[in-house]
């Protein structure tokens, strides 16, 4: 017997009888012999829950969890404190065992939180409309690029090399398939080279994509980027932003940006070895009919009662098939709920406080680590919660020694940017204390 299969032998017998059959195998007679598998699958036999639990615990224990070591990794995935309420709400099975809200009468819970999510993301980014989520920050950048191409009917996508490397790689994969052109803009002291950008933007440009804070943690001048880009009409400025940074930084919508996307993992979603995270997209209203994915709208029911439904579905694959704005169907549903609960729980004061406290800790760490002069700042530009430092030794060597002391060092920048050898990207958020930074400093000084 299997706990998730309720059929007794008697049930099976009765059900087969209704079908005029006497053997379950007869239900598979339609599979031709030459494609039928005539052996058992070569995977282990069913295990009890206790055995499964023990095996998974054994595997989990082979990892070194960040609750046992101190990590300064960021590079697109960040440690922020997740209030207990988040997990409690997303663990309600009314939410997590439902699917896409096709039947609004019994999906108002899902539809309402998506409406709230859209409102919160629109407010954070300063945009008119947000969708109900995309897979992650990287694919959100790509969807924005494709939307800009559809919007302008152009094929050139300009992206800054300060945008996180994974996003640029995914963009190249997708662009290749559609024969779109990706043009990368160089780096000038840790930010997008604006002179080069100005020379590149022309009437074939569909989108200019930047990230702020960028991959190096540095705040880009989105206003200037917008100004340069908008010299050509119908060219879309896409900014990938850290939603937490919007607790203190100017919003992309207030700086001339047309489409804001980003990784929402910072909003109450655990690191979980890289996923599932949360891509978000918000835009100026003129993009609404070109947006990918689900959008929830408010309406009224037969009795005039406020209710919520999936709307503008004529953009989507199940209606428009090959003419859809994207093929996305399943999205990050439950993670958009986590983000909603996180933003609401932190609220007006809290998002700002997380941003401020993270900034304070990161800048304290920067000041302390650069004091002795053994580590030098790679760039000389204002940063948010992440900064790049250069040493006389390789990051690999430094990180190995740090690990022996229970510390996970910064991201090795030379892996993605060979020109930045011996350089690490350190992320520090509100979950770190003075002791964590001071320990990092003293171990590093012993190494260098």
């Amino acid at each position: 017997m299997y706990p998730y299969i309720p059929h007794t032998d008697k049930d099976v017998e009765e059900m087969l009888k209704k079908l005029g059959l006497n053997d379950i195998e007869q239900l598979f007679d339609d599979i031709p012999k030459d494609v039928k598998l005539n052996r058992e699958l070569n995977i282990p036999k069913a295990k009890s829950e206790l055995e499964v639990r023990n095996r998974l615990i054994e595997l989990a224990n082979k990892n070194c969890s960040l609750s046992k070591v101190t990590s300064f990794l960021g590079a697109g995935a960040y440690e922020h404190y997740i209030p207990s309420v988040v997990n409690h709400i997303i663990s309600r099975s009314e939410f997590y065992t439902a699917y896409t809200p096709y039947q609004p009468e019994i999906s108002q819970g899902t539809l309402q939180y998506i409406f709230e999510f859209q409102t919160l993301i629109s407010e954070l980014t300063g945009m008119d409309v947000a969708n109900a989520s995309l897979y992650d920050g990287g694919t959100a950048v790509v969807e924005a690029a494709l939307m800009a191409c559809a919007y302008s009917k152009r094929e050139n996508i300009i992206i800054s090399k300060t945008v996180k490397p994974d996003a640029r790689k995914i963009l190249k994969t997708y662009a290749h398939a559609q024969s779109l052109n990706v043009i990368e803009v160089g780096i000038d002291d840790g930010i997008t080279d604006l002179n080069e950008l100005s020379n590149l933007v022309d009437e074939n440009t569909a989108a200019v994509i930047v990230q702020s804070p960028n991959f190096f943690g540095i705040i880009e001048d989105l206003e200037k980027v917008s100004e340069i880009t908008h010299k050509v009409k119908k060219t879309t400025v896409v900014a990938s932003v850290d939603p937490i940074s919007l607790g203190i930084l100017k919003r992309p919508g207030d700086l001339g940006v047309d489409v804001a996307v980003g990784e929402g993992q910072s909003l109450g979603i655990p690191l979980s070895f890289g996923g599932p995270y949360l891509g978000f997209m918000a835009a100026k209203k003129e993009y609404i009919r070109k947006m990918p994915g689900r959008i929830v709208g408010q309406t009224e029911d037969l009795d005039g009662k406020r209710s919520f439904v999936l709307t503008l579905t004529a953009r989507e694959q199940h209606i428009r098939r090959e003419k859809a704005t994207s093929n996305i169907c399943s999205n990050q549903g439950l993670n958009s709920l986590a983000a909603t609960v996180y933003i609401v729980t932190l609220g007006k004061k809290g998002i700002k406080e997380v941003a401020l406290k993270s900034t304070q800790m990161a800048h304290y760490a920067f000041d302390e680590l650069t004091k002795s002069g053994k580590l030098k700042s790679l760039f000389n530009k204002p940063f948010f919660i992440e900064f790049a430092l250069k040493a006389d030794k390789t990051t690999e060597e430094i990180n190995q020694k740090l690990l022996e002391n229970g510390i996970i060092g910064g991201f090795d920048l030379s892996k993605e940017y060979p020109q930045y050898e011996n350089s690490s990207l350190y992320a520090v958020t509100e979950v770190k204390r003075k002791d964590d930074v001071d320990k990092l400093k003293s171990v590093l000084e012993g190494i260098l």
Binding site: M15, N63, Q118, A130, F273, A314, Q317
Partner: protein, 484 residues
Amino acid sequence: MRNYDKLIFEISKPGRVAYKLPELDIEEKQIEDMIPKEFLSDKELNLPEVSEVDVIRHYTNISNKNYGVDTGFYPLGSCTMKYNPKINEDMAGLDGFVNLHPYQPQSCVQGSLELMYELQNYLCEISGMDQITLQPAAGAHGELTGVMLIKAYHESRNDKKRNKIIVPDSAHGTNPATAAMAGYDIIEIKSTKEGLVDLEQLREAVGEDTAGLMLTNPNTLGIFDRGIKEIAKIVHDAGGLLYYDGANANAILGYARPGDMGFDVVHFNLHKTFSTPHGGGGPGSGPVGVKKDLVPFLPVPIVKKDNGQFYLDYDYPQSIGKMKDFYGHFGMLVRAYAYILSMGSDGLKKASQMAVLNSNYLKEHLKEDYYLPIETIYKHEFVLGGLKDPLSDVITLDIAKRLLDYGYHPPTVYFPLIINEALMIEPTETESKETLDEFIEAMKKIAKEAKENPELLKTAPHNTVVRRPNEVKAARDIIVKYEG
């Protein structure tokens, strides 16, 4: 239960908080000394101010307006709404999995890599393919990955004239949308009366410009296409490749493998076949498997094992590149892995048996009152074409809405497009005979009501928190955020 109808913004009150963060234990600087004023916002964000109790009550109350698999029977065709085992959730929540940064040194993440490695191997065995990538985020994303792999294969052979993907008219909307996103033109071929691929049409459609064919088997009607070997031969002979959409894999676990049917690329939906939750729309997970000719093009990285150590292999010079950030939806992989261990080879086969039995049992009963366009052995799902009574003006939408009154999530409606008034019913193996019998009784009552009191159906639902929200109004007077 009281009728709660507030948005979180409407219960906000200035001064309330639902969190407390530790005080900084360092000397604070002025914000302007860290970040130049020009970058700093001078506006207050208009976000809610609520207490923790407010947050919990609000979301608990709106959760009560939802229907999930844990609430009751959810026979949404093509979506495989099986029960989501609780152990899976607990395991995905283990500290060693949750608090793990994707860029930690590989020596620190051996447990995760081992799990991924084993899952890759299990999925290879279940699908009959040679290598799996766990990277795709969802079914449609798996499709896109797979079609890009097909493209890379043809390009590597300098075979550049192949610019068309063939899709049957019964296909899920994501298939043509995916092919278009991968830069292909689409040729749609009509199905036979039995819902199968029309071999003559296929023969006519294939040619030097055929990149591939996207197919599910069993197909969208729930019928196993016996002609699959011939279909594969026609496409392969023309130089094209075959893509298997794994949406319907729950019907054939341990019975037939796409790899043995002649498919070159396969995706699975872990949130369908392998019990990971649907999450109100996601996150899903869509691993892709390929035959050895396509292995060089897989997105990087792939998990490998060498000398007892697991590692992320980026050494695929012909790779299509990356499809998403990091390595895939790891949290979903943990759940699917736990499910495969729990079920084992025997349990997976049993799952398909009972899924198919449940589907045929329902079909056999329901065809007494509803129109069954095709009489055959079905696999995990089947499609009805509205009421049997041709004179009734009660449409499928009315039946679906009346089912809400009886406490059920309706089947998928108006899909596939090739059946008029389609009701696509997939019970899954986790439903008991009693549940099915009760559903049959409800469906029979509805058929009777359609005769005796059609108005009752036309005005249904009657017992839900809202009734037929106006979708036309939503699309016309666009309100997509709260504006106070």
